[in-house]
Symmetry: C2
Subunit: 300 residues, 2 copies
Amino acid sequence: MFTADTCLLPDALRAIARAVDEGLDQVLQPPGDGRDQLYAAMRHAAIGGGKRLRPLLVKATADLFAVPEIFSLRAGLAIECLHVHSLIHDDLPCMDDDDMRRGKPTVHRAFDEATAVLAGDALHAFAFEILADPATHPNSDVRSALVMELARYAGAAGMAGGQMLDLLPTEQMTSLEAITRLQEWKTGALIEWSVDAGALLGGASSADRTALRAYAQRIGLAFQIADDLLDVEGSEDVVGKRLNKDQAQGKSNFVTVLGVDDAKEMAMRLVDEAMDQLQDISVPAHLLTEIAAFAIARDR
Amino acid sequence: MFTADTCLLPDALRAIARAVDEGLDQVLQPPGDGRDQLYAAMRHAAIGGGKRLRPLLVKATADLFAVPEIFSLRAGLAIECLHVHSLIHDDLPCMDDDDMRRGKPTVHRAFDEATAVLAGDALHAFAFEILADPATHPNSDVRSALVMELARYAGAAGMAGGQMLDLLPTEQMTSLEAITRLQEWKTGALIEWSVDAGALLGGASSADRTALRAYAQRIGLAFQIADDLLDVEGSEDVVGKRLNKDQAQGKSNFVTVLGVDDAKEMAMRLVDEAMDQLQDISVPAHLLTEIAAFAIARDR
């Protein structure tokens, strides 16, 4: 698609992938009884694979404010658990009915549908268990804010609401405005939470939080446009999931509405705007700049 | 089944049912856009019907410590949202495949499966949004403790773990010990949370919390044994859901393992033990005593 000059990002991506896998392995230890199949399904979905974009955004933002890595990594594990919960349920036969995810069989294929429903539910709860734990931040006001905001962004008014829109008859979802709103809820909300969580952990000023949220909103949309481009231009082997889905289902997305060229232009404009927002914050944010560029310069 | 002398309970049940319905109606207002179907499904499942046992336990326990009703009612709404989430997902075709719940069609029958998955997810998130909100308690340490404990009790180690056990081949679940453990996780955990939430909101002493938890564990099992008895002795019209399920599916429960008479005796013993625990706490707990008796003296 595009290329981007990066120097911090490749190491940061490798480091966060390792840290997330190690952290999840540690906190998802099976208890050694009849619940083990549930833990196996949670581990199958959560460990290995995935770009770990949301944990990276938490950490990269928290690093701006010198937050100890132990805190930002735990918040990153929480948002990844919530994200994986949504992927498991989204892949169910009654939803998107997908067989492959992150290069592996989806949970309901590797196990069964009931286990997939429960594994998603358990990871959902686990996200909040991690966040509310004093090990995530010593200040309970910060932990409560993280929980309340994540619950709001994940629920009916946010991600679940966006998923509902995505299930509506396609003729109701054909305008650029409708698709933008759908994606702001469905995928944008958790990306915005990730950046804001880093700011909350770091006690960022209100001005910095506002700019960082504006950054997050723009890269959220840019990532989605890039996903829609990968859906038509990507390689299934590299992306690790079924492609050409929206066209096969007659669904509108940024590329079907705008066409490939205008979609790329819109994504580039959003990335530029995101980078502009970073100029307004009180500390230099090189890694966040690279992540913005990466939004549209990736093959999976 | 049994009868019990009650004087506080009938009014308390009516009052909590009205308060929960009004509270849920208020917090589940549809936004007036494409997400409305999701809100309609959440309202269908959550408003009207149900004994509201868990909110009643929160409030009855909180009342012992003079907690303002506005706090205990919000914690009660949260646990009811989490409970309804579990009912919606439990009723799905891939799980128990039930058509009726609380005298109404289940969510996947009244709407569709995808909407049921999302409505359950949204109510799950909503429980945590309510709890973490400063309106639920001014002290963020209390709110964080409520969130962390509920997430733990709802997740893989608690309710979801118990639901997983319930899906295992029936020949692995035939002993009284195995069924007791399953039910302590599947249904006991949220009942224990409800009582402990009232104690946490009220700043109860550690000794009182211990006694109240022991009370909750016993009535949790007693309620389940009574449910198993209703499964063979109850009326579908009164109970509001399909009965004789366990026998039809060849599943073991307290009644199939113990027989009707011994199951009744065990339930009565548990209620006695629960009432004994209430003697040990620092304040009189008449309503909790009546709730213990009600566990086994009900027809739905």
